[in-house]
């Protein structure tokens, strides 16, 4: 059914809204958030989300450790981040409030489930002698709506055959219904979703729908809510859109690459947060010839992918920092074998096991330098959820066409975050051309056949891909140094030096195919260039545009190729007085830039397992532009 919007209550228009849903891991917060996201996206808003999961282990209900959050930024304008601060904070219990209050802007609105503020909840949340923040004035700087969501949901579900526990699980639908009302959105999309999800369990379907509608109607009827809001569609480029997370984008990009190369996709992986979802997604698409192999460990994962590539598939492996650390030796082998391989690192907080569910960019050095011997491997990074699709496709293209392993860097922030995607048409994706060798007639005796040269190179320094089964091309390859052209084992000093150089040149030449470098925004020379990479894109772009509005001479370039660099960078950097490199690490890209271009690049570093806010970038840039006390130094 479709609820009809009574225009009873006044409607205010907003350009953009940041709403943060928070509750117990069990409260279905992620679902509420993603449903509201889809609804707004479908409506035509631009959106950006940031799901913030509790630490891997599920904590006791009601504790701070158990709080799950979902932040959504939607608007009638272009959106690049989930928003620095929330306009509205929806909390299902006391812990959710305590954990997220600092993310709400002063004067912001709090919608609290009063039932989650019982003495017990307050104690669990660590409110000293269980003072109820909803009533003790601590929230006087905010607009607080305290609603007994639990009770109202139960009422709405009277007569339902469900047990109390199951009924209470519908709370999140009540909230969603209410928020839909509040932002003048229909329940339609969610109803469709529920119809599919609970097709086999009519009682649950009925209950969830009733809660959803009850929430909507509550908004309509309740006295406490006097106004509702409207966020008009955003002026997005014409086209058809869908919503997508970074890990979905990565999975789809891999399938597209394999299809476009005419290869089977082999994905050898060992589960690890936050990379596992790529495995989950790919395992659902076997009808694309996708073969997923859950290996016994990360070493077996990459080695199985190497074996698959040797057999003529697109071999891919993925992990996060600790798992990538285990792949170093095999990466060296792939580099020696010179076969296609895509290695995905969905970065998380480190070092060691670190902060598995938090985001970070501290594996760049590992990607560029983390191997024994001279083992150059291209490194590519995605900057947004949708960019994951484009960049992993680029990684696969380079791997296959240049016969080399390629490292693709993502991180927990964009891997789990979602944004609208104007997905491409298959036909518009450029095909990938594997440099297959051409089989040769076999003669009955090996002696007579002129030896096949597996390490003969074309003008780009790329060798041919000879697959088992191809007649007359039998050859042996391995990790020992090879003789030029023949690939036979060779310890000859000059040959070793030559091979090291040939491998290095092959990788260096890949830069020849890159598109000319272009600024993301700003003047092509001036006071300050902000150089970013990876998931900091949205925050930097927002800050850069803001600074430009403010009349500052600031430009922004975002690197997708971390190794080799885009050749245009050499000319671009000197055109600015200063260079700022914001990173969620201690300055790893900065170190690479300084060594390569001998420029005194400055760092803006945040290592908190949380993405930058655009304000942090703006302040950091201002400090560099005019080291004045004005721009208060929010140490990022």
């Amino acid at each position: 059914m479709t609820t009809t919007i009574k225009k009873a209550k006044p409607v205010e228009t907003r350009e953009n809204v940041v709403i943060l849903f928070a509750g117990d891991s069990g409260d279905g917060i992620q679902l509420t958030g993603s449903q509201f996201t889809d609804t707004n996206a479908l409506f035509g808003n631009d959106v950006s989300t940031f799901p913030n999961f509790p630490a891997e282990i599920r904590a006791p209900h009601g504790t701070l450790a158990g709080v799950s959050g979902y932040q959504l930024h939607f608007g009638s304008v272009e959106i690049f981040t989930p928003g620095d601060q929330a306009d509205v904070l929806v909390v299902m219990n006391a812990a959710a409030l305590k954990a997220n209050l600092d993310k709400l802007k002063l004067g912001g609105t709090i919608i609290a489930n009063s039932d989650g503020f019982e003495a017990k909840n307050l104690r669990l949340a660590g409110y000293i002698d269980a003072d109820d923040p909803l009533n003790d004035g601590t929230l006087e700087n905010y607009v607080v709506h305290s609603v007994d969501i639990t009770k109202m949901t139960r009422n709405a579900l009277e007569g339902s055959p469900l047990g109390m526990k199951e009924k209470d699980r519908c709370k999140n639908m009540f909230v969603l219904g209410f928020i839909n009302w509040m932002y003048s959105r229909e329940n339609e999309l969610t109803e469709g979703f529920l119809n599919r999800k609970f097709a086999k369990t009519p009682d649950l379907l009925d209950a969830n729908k009733r809660a959803l509608i009850a929430g909507y109607n509550f908004g309509d009827t309740s006295e406490t809510f006097t106004t509702r809001f409207e966020v008009h569609p955003a002026p997005m480029p014409k086209g058809t859109y869908r919503n997508i997370t970074g890990n979905q984008g990565t999975a789809l990009g891999l399938i597209a690459a394999a299809q476009k190369a005419g290869l089977d996709l082999f994905y050898g992986s060992y589960p690890i947060t936050p990379a596992s979802d790529i495995l989950h997604e790919l395992s659902r698409h076997k009808n694309f010839g996708v073969k997923t192999f859950q290996a016994e460990d990360e070493i077996a994962a990459i080695c199985s992918a190497i074996g698959a590539s040797y057999g003529g598939a697109l071999g891919v492996t993925a992990s996060s920092g600790p798992g990538i650390a285990l792949k170093g030796e095999a990466l060296g082998l792939a580099c020696m074998l010179e076969i296609p391989l895509v290695v995905i690192n969905v970065q998380r907080g480190g070092p060691s096991t670190g902060l598995p569910t938090k985001t970070e960019q501290a594996d760049l050095w590992q990607a560029v330098h983390g191997r024994n011997g001279e083992a150059p491997i291209p490194v590519i990074a995605a900057s947004t959820p949708t960019d994951c699709f484009d960049m992993v496709l680029e990684a696969a293209r380079i791997a296959v066409e240049h016969m080399t392993p390629v490292i693709f860097l993502s991180d927990g922030y964009i891997a789990n975050g979602a944004e609208p995607w104007r997905f491409p048409q298959s036909k518009d994706i450029e095909p990938i051309t594997p440099p297959f060798a051409t089989p040769r007639p076999v003669t009955s005796s090996a002696v007579e056949t002129p030896a096949f040269l597996p390490y003969l190179r074309d003008e780009r320094g790329v060798r041919a891909w000879a697959l088992p089964g191809m007649k007359g091309l039998q050859h042996r390859i391995g990790g020992l140094e090879k003789e030029d052209k023949t690939g036979n084992i060779s310890y000859e000093p000059k040959n070793h030096e030559k091979m090291v150089q040939l491998r290095a040149e092959k990788i260096a030449r890949i830069a020849d195919r890159f598109k000319p470098i272009r600024l993301d925004s700003g003047p092509d020379n001036g006071k300050l260039l902000i150089v970013g990479w990876g998931s900091t894109y949205g925050a930097i772009r927002t800050a850069a545009l803001q600074l430009q509005k403010e009349g500052q001479s600031v430009a922004h370039v975002h690197l997708r190729h971390l190794f080799p660099f885009n050749k245009g960078l050499r000319g671009m950097l000197p055109r600015y007085e200063k260079v700022l490199v914001p990173e969620m690490n201690s300055g790893q890209l900065r170190q690479l830039l300084r060594a390569e271009y001998l420029i005194d690049a400055q760092g803006l570093n945040k290592i908190q397992g949380m993405p930058f806010t655009s304000e942090e970038i703006r302040v950091g840039a201002l400090k560099l532009l005019s080291p004045s006390p004005k721009a208060s130094a929010t140490k990022a």
Partner: protein, 353 residues
Amino acid sequence: MSTTNGTPKPVVTPSAVEGQTKLDYSSDQDVRWCPGCGDYSILKQVESVLAQQGKPKEDIVFISGIGCSSRFPYYLDTYGVHGIHGRAPAIASGLRSVRPELSVWMITGDGDALSIGGNHIIHLLRRNVDLNVLLFNNEIYGLTKGQYSPTSPEGAVTRSTPMGSVDHPFNPLALCLGADGSFIARSMDRDVKHLREILLRADTHRGTSLVEIYQNCNVYNDGAFETFTEKATKPMHTIFVEHGKPLVFAAGSKGIKLDGTKPMIVDLATGDASANDLWIHDERDPLKASLLTRLFDDPKYEGAMPRPFGVFYVHERATHETKLNAQVALAKEKKGVGDLDALLRGEHTWTIG
């Protein structure tokens, strides 16, 4: 390369590929093992088996790890990968997942397979990837010049154990059976006829065929197996088991019978026991097979049981790649061959302008 379901290996008669002689399968690289190394005889038998099976060279792949033994692939004119230490099983598993029609052999050593590669081997065996695995056991690290290995006997004095090893060694076949291997066998470099037979059996088995081969490293561990290989001692210390045949040794003068689960040696010469009382070898019996693997006494000791050679256990079960590719086929059948545009568009879309 689009792949097919785990198609049965083409059963090719020797004549199938015209004019292939044994020599045909050897590469142009000169063999670089120490003179007298047991590896030579194994290479010879493998070449002979390849010739007999007569599969096209380009459809055969040899994958190895690192070690003297692992240089093996260089010496054959097939496809080959000299991998990294201990990881051959993973490389081979990936290859077979996407190319189930190929014939894949894996060459490894006691260090490569049981030390650094131990985990991959046991997972390979449980998954039952269709490979012929030749485990060259010389009870030493040859390539790195003589440190003890996981199969070296306790007390072994080697370069890394001047006072003798304190590690209790693996019983390789007991371990492999414990990992649910589907084909478990043992042979030796010195008995070329037996070795050849076992290799043939291994090649025809569908699944992971694990063959432990006692191999003499005449430089760092010379004579490690001489009690089993030398004329004088071989009869008393070895027993060659064959499916359906009683366990007899010592040129038929002795046999082994089972008292419940306890094996005991009986004398056949002095008629106090007859062949009928003996333990009849049944390749298909996993329980008996595990008893066989336990016949692992140190021959030095009085009354030691003879060491069994032959095929201990065979069990036909679906290979990993067959099941994997079957799912792909099924998915294509059920959902239809993937349509990229449908995938990219997903479930909810909206259009602007």
